[in-house]
């Protein structure tokens, strides 16, 4: 094996050129190898993700109470606490009482964050990590669906 300069920068210019070529030409894939350098650029498979309906305004996808179904994914190291059931989201144990948590609070794993009521059953949702409450994503007394993010927590550094 020859010695390779691991510190050599990636050939990004060439990659860009190949990307351009793939896009402009309409071909499906280009691979180039020269010595230790290998670049492969593939066109995106044409298949449409969710191409349907909604030429008529009535066909909008509504999650109950207009809560967003797919918020931006966990990033910046935030952790989402998601609803394990379909139901109504309550921030406090009972009407008139204080919310379990507020933005800025520090919570520990296992601490209750809210209730999701489903068929008269009160499901206490607990924090699955310790950390700071960064955002409350659902509306009090609003509907939430399965897997819907309810809170963003910033986990404690381990």
């Amino acid at each position: 094996m020859p010695e390779i300069d691991e510190n050599r920068p990636l050939p990004l210019r060439e990659v860009e050129q190949l990307v351009e070529l793939v896009r402009e030409s309409g071909v499906g894939e280009i691979r180039v190898r020269q010595g230790e350098t290998e670049i492969s650029v593939k066109a995106r498979p044409e298949v449409p993700a969710t191409p349907f309906g909604n030429q008529v305004a009535s066909g909008t996808q509504v999650v109950p109470e207009g809560v967003e179904s797919e918020p931006s994914p966990e990033m910046d190291g935030l952790h989402a606490v998601r609803s394990p059931v379909v139901g109504t989201f309550y921030r406090a144990p009972a009407p008139g009482e204080d919310a379990y948590v507020e933005v800025g609070d520090t919570v520990s794993a296992g601490q209750p964050l809210c209730i999701v009521e489903a068929m008269k059953l009160m499901n206490e949702i607990v924090a699955d990590v310790s950390g700071e409450v960064v955002e409350v994503l659902a509306e009090n007394a609003g509907g939430v669906e399965y897997d819907q993010p309810l809170f963003y927590l910033r986990p404690d550094e381990q």
């Binding site: 349907f52 909604n54 066909g59 996808q61 109470e65 379909v86 139901g87 489903a118 669906e145 399965y146």
Partner: protein, 457 residues
């Protein structure tokens, strides 16, 4: 008219119900599992709610989640489609209790007809012929032997709570009864949580015929011309047609009259199907499905009646308005179930990316499907990809139209039952009409130049 319907199902039948809602100006709510985020029923409904993870037990069978979704979205009614919760009396009862209208008969009716032994009793009471066999379920091996002595062998032992061939044993002689009774009962217990079984004379060469019924809450019942669903594989229907080929007129009338009698005796509401076996000029009741069936479009094509729309009208308290001429068949219709199964590998279920999807068009062709190019068939649910229904002036023309449309039907990315259907349509006995439920079991599938062909074994 009801204002909003929650569709407690997925796939093509969810789409079918959503389409009916749209055409009636009723809002629709889809529920979906996380495996169905890219599904058309989720896309095309007016609203949708994610109800759980992929396994059906946690999503499409998750009663609390579905009831909660209905409450959150303010739905007035729940349409269960077929499968999943469609014949779950407890679910219907919960709907009734929380004030949701269940699109189907009362929970008591579902429970009664869901017990196959009890359903036999109800049919016999209504004067509908039932296969010779036990009255109600058999509590012991001795009872089975007594029935055997009475009606003769072979016998079939069936699960009272059963369906789909589970908890079922055929016995040829009395000596086999002990083992078969035990086996059937155990299997029934394991599959349905209820080990009780009943016994019928086993008819070997029979056709499966059934009658679609619709009843409103004012006591009006209509029965449609019969469907023939004899092309089956392991008790799963593959091809259904209406009218049944080569059926004597008096048998047709008998089937419709018997179905009307039974349904009339039940205080029934909504759509249902009374299933019969037909052999040697006689027909016998086997069971009643208290729900919409996969093959309902066959009846829609020859009657012009939109059965799902009628279901929604009935549940809204409207009266059935079915024109008289809808009750005699207009032409002939055949439905083909296009399943994600590999006919050459023992019908191994397929899942994955649908690369190409181009359904056939032109005259007399209807496609009910939730597919689109780029859709991923999830591995969690049943294998039905699409239903192709063809309609033409007579059976001969329908078969030719079916060949044309099946040939045009482009699906790639997985194996399907499309080539099997082409092979069935090329089979001489099928073309003559009136095959028995042993049709497929009696044949072998061979691959020949990329095509399939059936050969009698």
């Amino acid at each position: 008219m009801i204002g909003k319907v929650l569709v407690a199902n997925r796939g093509e039948i969810a789409l079918r119900i959503i389409r009916a809602c749209r055409e009636l100006g009723v809002r629709s709510v889809a529920v979906y599992s996380t495996a169905d985020r890219d599904s058309l029923h989720h896309e095309l409904a007016d609203e949708s709610v994610c109800i759980g993870p992929p396994p059906a037990a946690s999503s499409y069978l998750n009663v609390p989640a579905i009831i909660s979704a209905a409450e959150l979205t303010g739905a007035d009614a729940v349409h269960p489609g077929y499968g999943f919760l469609a014949e779950n009396a407890r679910f219907a009862e919960i709907c009734e209790r929380v004030g949701l209208r269940f699109v189907g008969p009362a929970s008591g009716t579902i429970a009664r007809m869901g017990d196959k032994a009890e359903a036999r009793g109800a049919a016999a009471e209504a004067g509908v012929p039932v296969t010779p066999g036990s009255e109600g379920s058999c509590e012991s091996v001795d009872e089975v032997k007594r029935v055997g002595a009475e009606v003769g062998y072979p016998l079939v032992i069936k699960a009272s709570a059963g369906g789909g061939g589970k908890g079922m044993r055929v016995v040829e002689t009395e000596a086999e009864i002990d083992a078969a009774y035990l086996g059937a009962s155990r299997e029934a217990g394991a599959n349905f949580g209820d080990g009780s079984v009943y016994v019928e004379k086993y008819l070997e060469r029979l056709r499966h015929v059934e009658v679609q019924v619709l009843a409103d809450s004012y006591g009006e019942t209509v029965t449609f011309p019969e469907r023939d669903c004899s092309v089956q594989r392991r008790y799963q229907k593959l091809i259904e047609e209406s009218p049944a080929p080569d059926l004597p007129e008096d048998v047709r009338e008998g089937l419709m009259a018997a179905s009307a009698e039974l349904v009339g005796s039940l205080d029934y509401e909504g759509a249902g199907t009374v299933e019969f076996v037909y052999a040697d000029g006689e027909f016998y009741f086997i069971e009643m499905n208290t729900r919409l069936q996969v093959e309902h479009p066959v009846t829609e094509m020859i009657s012009g009646v939109d059965i799902v729309a009628e279901q929604l009208k009935v549940v809204s308290g409207e009266r059935l308005v079915v024109p008289k001429d809808a009750l005699s068949p207009d032409g002939h219709a055949i439905e083909f179930r296009i399943n994600a199964e590999d006919p050459l590998r023992n019908f191994l279920p397929q899942a994955g990316l649908v690369e190409v999807y181009n359904p056939p068009g032109g005259p007399g062709v209807r496609v009910d499907s939730h597919l689109y190019a780029g859709y991923r068939v999830p591995p969690y649910y049943d294998s039905l990809l699409a239903k192709l229904i063809v309609h033409a002036r007579d059976r001969e023309a329908s078969i030719r139209r079916g060949l044309r449309a099946l040939d045009e039907f482009a699906v790639s990315g997985m194996e399907t039952t499309l080539p099997l259907h082409l092979a069935v349509l090329e089979d001489e006995e099928f073309r003559r009409g009136g095959v028995t439920t042993r049709f497929l079991a009696d044949r072998e599938l061979e691959s020949e130049g990329g095509l399939l062909r059936l050969t009698r074994t």
